[in-house]
Symmetry: C2
Subunit: 348 residues, 2 copies
Amino acid sequence: MGQFNLEEHSHRRYNPLTGEWVQVSPHRSKRPWQGQIEKVVQEVRAKYDPNCYLCPGNTRANGEENPAYSDTYSFTNDFAALRADIPIGKFQEDDLFIAKSERGICKVICFSPRHDLTIPEMDIAAITKVVELWVSEYRALGKRDYINHVQIFENKGAIMGCSNPHPHGQIWAQESIPVEPRKKSRQFLEYFQRHNRSLLSDYLERELQKQERILLQNEHFVVLIPFWAIWPFEAMILSKRHITSLLELNDAEKQAFADAYKKLTVMYDNLFQTSFAYSAGIHQAPTDGKLHPEWHLHMSFYPPLLRSATVKKFMVGYEMLANPQRDITAEQAAKMLRELPLKHYKMT
Amino acid sequence: MGQFNLEEHSHRRYNPLTGEWVQVSPHRSKRPWQGQIEKVVQEVRAKYDPNCYLCPGNTRANGEENPAYSDTYSFTNDFAALRADIPIGKFQEDDLFIAKSERGICKVICFSPRHDLTIPEMDIAAITKVVELWVSEYRALGKRDYINHVQIFENKGAIMGCSNPHPHGQIWAQESIPVEPRKKSRQFLEYFQRHNRSLLSDYLERELQKQERILLQNEHFVVLIPFWAIWPFEAMILSKRHITSLLELNDAEKQAFADAYKKLTVMYDNLFQTSFAYSAGIHQAPTDGKLHPEWHLHMSFYPPLLRSATVKKFMVGYEMLANPQRDITAEQAAKMLRELPLKHYKMT
Ligand SMILES: O=P(O)(O)O[C@H]1O[C@H](CO)[C@@H](O)[C@H](O)[C@H]1O
Ligand SMILES: O=P(O)(O)O[C@H]1O[C@H](CO)[C@@H](O)[C@H](O)[C@H]1O
């Protein structure tokens, strides 16, 4: 049978950031696909859409009018899942029925006044404005005494539940530390207490030596496919310097973050020559008023496509009930992305 | 502002089975939906499809021919994610790069020779054969010394990544205990050590008193929406008797399991008058050769639809990066399902 080999044999990889495992089935991408095919929307969008509730000057569902903004714009979500003005309370019966009220704020952040653009099509200066907006929102929301976690994220593409193609992201800020960042908090802390170093600094150092999973880098950021990635083309933007939150970014780093964000999403679009859908978000220190030297800021990208612009990976059945599972290895995915041109396919 | 109230205010509920929390936003289902609409496939299927690789007598991708089976049939997946014949090995560098080989067996289980049926359209006797097949597969797979977990599941519907409408499920049996059952193992054990009782027996007792989230019951099984459900119409089939695995089911219980399975899926189909997609699976004791008195067999259903036959809940962005989140409460969902007739809409 030969020797055990990560490129050929089924295995599990450990994710030191969450403490959980991913199941990898390298040979499985050979299976033919007869299942659901996604629609590809190759629409040409107007720069301004009178019916879009995010375009400058338009009126939203609640009757408010967007200003004539010229770079970014943020506002409180008209259909927020979390609200600040709810009564505080707790419900508990034994240790089987436990619930507690959760206060929070949900915001929408428009990346550009242009209805027709996406991050990979925007220029670095414009994307830097997005990074600056993240910084100011994280600061302002995090300052409120009842906000202990600020989740900045972007859903891109209809198959990711995004209901409006106008380039935008969201922020859900809340009292509790949610499930996913809580796992990372615990793992970061444990590592920091043991090594007095950031887990991701040590990880990055090794990845830069290996070069197997690196997609690109600039002076301040590296983009890579983590060893323990779950989604076929999952990627991570990682700051070279050990910084715990957006608040520590200097101007050069803000621009470098924007540069990494653009380049990764250009690679993504070029992979299947389609506007590549994903959910992406920033994980960073909680805003609970304490210092968190163990945390290391990073941005994760979870794109669903697997084989082509129309065939996605379904995280269902086994994955929902048992364990995340992937069909190609992180190294195979990195190789495919790394070989792509850094110029957007629409520009060539 | 009045008093904190689970039917009105954002809150988090604790899942004692996993130790994790779900975010509930009761008011959020009011938000209008402008996003992706799923295709409804109202096809009329033939009883036999010459191109289906699961129909009796047909030849599969690997050249093997299915027998002329008359109730259920199982075989090893031709494109298995897990295989028995791989070299054993481990890869480790520091505590950052850890991988280990994973042996396993993936099987496909056909529920019926009839290509056109689904569980809610089959009769109890035929579904009982499916339960019997689960029992024998769990027994046979679990007996192998390198199989410590047997995950039985069903992906139903194209939007759940199911690539063939012929009624079938799958079994992935493997060396390690996967992430999700491992959480439950830990929680069951902790509860059992503290109370010397099954967590789910105690839970069920309280739910039967409350009646708020019960969908239906028969002599041996209860179907309910758990207090901590994540998916809009998530449900659980729970054995009244504290049994740890399928091996303990007596004949009456096998039939009652089939009855509960059918009735729940009929409710599901009736909800939006469509063949209701879901992933479902059985969680039960590991097959690691030890006794597991802490475990309590149950079957979980995770259906994606939210508002109608065409609008699903997207678990994206916030949910992927931060925390599972639901838009209607478990109680609202239970009320909607409970009020539906128990006769399949196609039969009326
Ligand atoms: O095995 P199938 O039906 O081809 O594939 C389906 O179920 C598997 C197990 O849940 C998933 O890994 C796949 O993503 C899904 O498409
Ligand atoms: O807020 P939106 O864009 O309407 O909704 C989208 O993102 C939310 C946050 O990730 C999800 O809860 C919704 O399921 C999804 O459709």
